[in-house]
Symmetry: C2
Subunit: 232 residues, 2 copies
């Protein structure tokens, strides 16, 4: 309930993970948990969990711990998952189609209301109940329908044009799968970037660095399945 404190992105990015673990606990019929027990389960520190939660309020009880369903509800509310932000998706290629079909919008505060593409052979097809609209009609759509957020599943160049149109129509929230740097051009927008290619390159670095650290293991086909002692 304490407001006004500035919440750091480090904390915010941990909230969905708390949400997931609490949901699982709840589904398993566990109604109470201490920061210590949760920390162990999540591979975090109890201190961090208490610190994080106390950014938003005192949800626990001394000597008892946290009430799981209550804490779950609190975190849902903090995340704002009860919203239904009206959302459109641009670019119905492989990635766009996967997002439409795969992502659970309703339970995460968003409602997918329309999807657009500029490829004539895709326009008019139906994906997960949504008819692909002509990207040429985007502006008209935005002016007649309320659009809270947009999902960009198109290449940087097209994304740039689309963002200009959307920004002009008042859209200020973007889930961005393109390499366009939206917040560089428009400072008053909320963006969340998903850069799959960057993620893969990061993995490549980690793998390569790891190999250099543990040489000699010229891993060939049939590797040993030595048993594992779970440490830490």
């Amino acid at each position: 309930m304490s407001e006004n404190k500035k919440i750091s992105m480090s904390v915010v990015r941990r909230l969905p993970r708390y949400y997931r673990f609490l949901l699982e606990l709840k589904n398993n019929g566990i109604y109470r948990i201490s920061s210590k027990a949760l920390a162990e389960k999540m591979g975090a520190s109890a201190s961090q969990i208490r610190q994080d939660l106390n950014c938003f309020g005192g949800f626990g009880q001394q000597g008892y711990g946290y009430d799981v369903p209550k804490l779950f509800d609190e975190i849902s509310a903090i995340l704002g998952l009860d919203n239904q932000y009206r959302t459109i998706l641009l670019g119905v290629g492989n990635l766009g189609r996967a997002v439409v079909n795969h992502v659970g919008f309703q339970s995460r505060g968003f409602e997918l209301t329309a999807i657009f593409d500029n490829n004539p052979s895709i326009i008019g097809t139906v994906i997960n109940g949504l008819t692909v609209l002509d990207a040429g009609t985007l502006k008209d759509y935005c002016l007649s329908e309320k659009v809270d957020a947009a999902i960009l599943c198109l290449p940087k160049e097209s994304a740039e044009q689309v963002v200009d149109i959307l920004y002009g129509c008042g859209v200020r929230c973007f889930w961005n799968f393109s390499h366009l740097d939206i917040s560089m051009k428009y400072s008053d927008v909320v963006t969340e970037n998903v850069h799959l290619n960057d993620s893969l390159m990061t993995l490549c670095y980690c793998m390569t660095a790891d190999r250099e650290k543990h040489p000699g293991i010229t891993e060939t086909a049939s590797a040993p399945s030595r048993p594992q002692s779970s440490d830490k």
Copy 2:
């Protein structure tokens, strides 16, 4: 060229971005750039760029700046993009299909050699030149073929079984789109997690928090397109 220093993940996660900007500069025929100019372009600080690069070596020249193609090559090498890690993908649903079709593996150090699913109606179909194999043959495949990395595009439960098999076969590198916590069970693996649902919830939080900060703007359809003064 300086080794042995421990590189922080904060630095590592910025490398792909440097890579992208340097590629663009190179493609635009720009052969020289100072940390100051690059910082401006990227929305970072010159200090950070110099600090980051110097984790790996002194790539610049006092009074001159950085040679763009040279620095690009250095970063490619640091990321290990010249590798061809043999990689398999598990789970050819919407997301898996998008990854197969959409991600550029070759140029990012990976080579997709096989894709698996357990759905009989999908097995045998061809996606981007790869025939979907029966997940039941996974272990045999791993024992006869070299597998450096695996991409998990399946639900948590199936992912758990698959990871056990793969770990047993010596696979130690995972690009993980599931909610399974691999490094919790196996501490000696390299993982990169992509949690789309978490990302969307983070966006929901940011949007909701932003709205609370700027109330009164009950954004309706035709929003003003007030011109933008790019600050900072």
